[in-house]
Structure formats: C-alpha cells, structure tokens
Symmetry: C2
Subunit: 253 residues, 2 copies
C-alpha cells in the first residue's frame, strides 16, 4: 500500500514509521519547511521529501494529512487541484470529517497524546475511523488493525464527542493537577508527596469507574471543610473560581 504523508510533525514522526513497519510503502513526505520532513524521511527508507505540492505522487493509495486543524483545510484546497485518486484522510479529533473536499475521504484518529521523545506502544492506542464510504472504512480499518488492537468506527458526531471527552480526560485533568501543584508550591510543600494519591485516584477511576469512586468534602456535604477551603483560596480568585464550580458540579452529582 503506497502512502503519502502530508506534514512532518509529532504525529507523523510517530505514525509513519509504524505504518512502514506494518508493511506500508511511505513514498513521499510533503512539508512546507524542509527540516522536520528530512528528519522523518530518514526514518522511512528515505522517502522522498517535497515542499512543492505539484510534485506530489498521483498514484498513492492513501494520503495522510497529519497537520494541525487549521492547516488541514488550506492544504486540502491545494491538494484538490492535483489529479489524485487515492483516499485522503486527516488524523484530527477536533476537525470534522466533512472539511475534506475529496470523493474518497475518511478520518484516522489515534486517541493519544504524542510527545516528541517517548516511544509509544501503538497496539494500545485506540484508532477511530470515520467515513461515509463503506469501502474507505473497510480499507482504513484493515490498515489500523495492523498497528492497534483497538479500532472503532464512529460517526463524525461520536468522534467529536470523544474528542471533547478527551479534552476533559487529558487537558483538564492535567490542569487540575497543575493547580494542585500551584497550591503546594505556595506553601513549600513538595508536589511529589501527592504522587501516590494521584496514581491511586486514577487506578480506582479506571477500575471501578469515576462515578463510583467519587470521594471528598463536596460529595459528602462537608460544608465546614468547603468553607475553610474557600477562605484559604480567598487571595487566589482564579483558583477559587475553579474550586467553586467543580464543588458545585460534584454536589449536583
């Protein structure tokens, strides 16, 4: 299966080598700037690097757009002018399926956060497939199953909901931990001391479900402790606002 990769950012750096291991032939890496594409190409049996979209291969089976949400649409417009016939997919959780202006199109969304350094274990990463075309779904699922053990077809609405849930599960959870670290720092308490509690919190939530694992002053209606916390945060109105809103949300259940 011939693959063209559009973009050479974090996701491409992780995904393309994995697709190559799974037997794909990554024939080109397109990127407006050269450096990261060269870097990626070196991992890919020296796939050719191009920054002129007119030179894009016309005979690839799948074109993977691995760019940021804003860039997906603008590159699609350029790509549309080329005489290509393969499937075009983007890999974004937030961007809609319909923004792709191609007859054969789909979404191939790996639900994970990719950092530059860590090697990721693709078998554990859920891959979400979305397309109106059964043929495209079938081809993308077959490909996804070569690298992941969790491949799920979803409607575009479901994928958007999942992405929103992921913002809570990843970005918001992380920010709440930042605020906990912030409170510790103000009082010269090492954040490290919270680590075993955090790990147990997550273990419980993943094992029993978060709704069943809720504890703390808000769920048991301990107004005295809540009042004390509100007073402690009196001089930090930004953190206090988060405290109040989440406490209210827990109380409502």
């Amino acid at each position: 299966m011939k693959v063209v990769c559009i973009g050479a950012g974090r996701l491409a750096q992780h995904l393309m080598p994995e697709l190559q291991r799974a037997g794909c032939d990554i024939i080109q890496v397109y990127n407006r700037t050269d450096y990261s594409a060269q870097l990626l190409s070196q991992k890919l049996n020296d796939a050719s690097v191009l920054s002129d979209i007119n030179q894009i291969a016309k005979d690839a089976d799948i074109y993977f757009i691995t760019l940021s949400d804003d860039a997906i649409y603008s590159v699609s417009i350029l790509l549309q002018l080329q005489d290509i016939n393969g499937i075009v997919v983007h890999c974004s959780g937030a961007a809609e399926y319909d923004i792709l202006p191609f007859p054969k199109k789909g979404v191939f969304y790996p639900l994970q956060t990719f950092s530059g350094v860590h090697k990721v274990d693709w078998t554990t990463i859920p891959i979400i497939i979305t397309s109106d075309s059964e043929e495209v779904v079938s081809k993308l699922e077959t490909l996804a199953r070569k690298i992941s053990s969790t491949v799920v077809e979803m409607t575009d609405t479901q994928k958007s909901a999942l992405h929103l849930a992921a913002v809570f599960a990843n970005n918001f959870t992380n920010h709440i931990l930042s605020l906990a670290g912030n409170i510790c720092a103000r009082h010269n308490v090492p954040f490290e001391i919270l680590k075993p509690l955090i790990q147990t919190t997550i273990d419980n939530a993943l094992e029993h479900g978060p709704s069943e694992s809720q504890t703390g002053p808000a769920i048991r209606g301990d107004d005295r402790t809540i009042e004390k916390h509100v007073q402690m945060l009196d001089t930090h109105p930004e953190i206090l606002e988060v405290y109040k809103v989440i406490t209210k949300s827990i109380e409502k259940g």
Copy 2:
C-alpha cells in the same frame, strides 16, 4: 508501644493492623457501635472492644482518633474527661491540629484514599506529622517510619494546604473523569476507549510535572475548537460551566 484506637472505620481497618505488624500493641478499640469494632478487633489479636468511653485504658502511649472530622471534636470532649496521659492524635487532613484539647497532641495524617476492599501498600503512603511539641513529633515520626518510607513534618498551615491540593488531585480529577464519562455515555461511546490516554496523561504529569505537560485547545489558543465544544455543550449547562471555567483558567496559565 500501647495504642488505643478510637473509631473503627476504613482508616482504622487499614492502619491498625499495619501498626500491629510494626510492633505496636493495640490494646483497645473504642466505637459507639459494636459491629465494625468487633471486625477490627479480630484483626488485632482480639484487642478489647468497648463502646463506653469510661472504660478506656488510662495507660496507653498513643490514642489514635480515626473518626470523621465532625466526630473528632465531640469525642475529644469525652476523652478529655478521662484521666489519660498519653499522646492523642487525629488522622485528618482537613481538621486542624488545635481542635485537640490535650496537653500532648499531634496529627498523624496518611495521605491516601482508603477503600474498603483493596489492600494498601503502606510503604508508599506519605505520612504527615504535625505537632507543636518536639517530643511528640519525634515519637510520631519514629512510629510512622516503621510503616512508611515517606514521613514529613509540616506546620498546620502546610498540612491544610496539602489537604486542599489533595482535594484537587483526587476528588476534582476524579470528577473531571466522571464528566468525560458522562459525555461519552450520551453519545454511546465506551469510556474504556479513553483509558490509555488517561494513563499517559498521568504518567506525563507525574514524570515531567503538570505545568510542563499542558496541551489542548485552551493552551494553544484554538478558539475555533473551543467554540465548537461550547456549542456541543449548549444543552448541558452544568458541564458547560465547568468547561468554560477550566478553559479560562488554562488560558490564564
């Protein structure tokens, strides 16, 4: 070291057997209702069970009040009428050190969430020690070091701050995961699909620090995605309020 345990709830069920293994002699378990005290006593070489506080041993070295915050004070008043001479400690993160009306007093606060079923690994649980008396601090630290590898002395203010941070790290993080599950459920998306992302989120936050690990639409100023999310939550104002406040808090950094 002779220990009397006041209360027979979750914390007592976990802590007392561990103190016994560490060489303490748990001589009595006091509880207003009998059942859970009997249960605990069976784990403790049949420590005697009492529900009449007048029968409490006068010669114990340490009295552990393992009750809920509200009950600590009311039991302290009763205990104060007894002619006891040992150290009295409570184990609460939220309750202040000063609520104990005893000459030799302290706080022995294990920073962990205790469920009924799971066996906990005490060596990993940080134990916070607070007391105005150096002698009490020294005795409590020596005892705590027998069961945990992380024993930290803190002022009462630091302990309160740590407890507040723990409410964020445990209760609030868990609730955010509940909301993620709630969004999934409304769209027939299995919550399980988020598990690898959640585990990576926590791994990154614990390894690199949460401030360094922040990603997502709010931190990169992706207003289009935020606007889309706000629209999706239009019919769920409670979740929308949480979304808006945390997004604003991330943007402020």
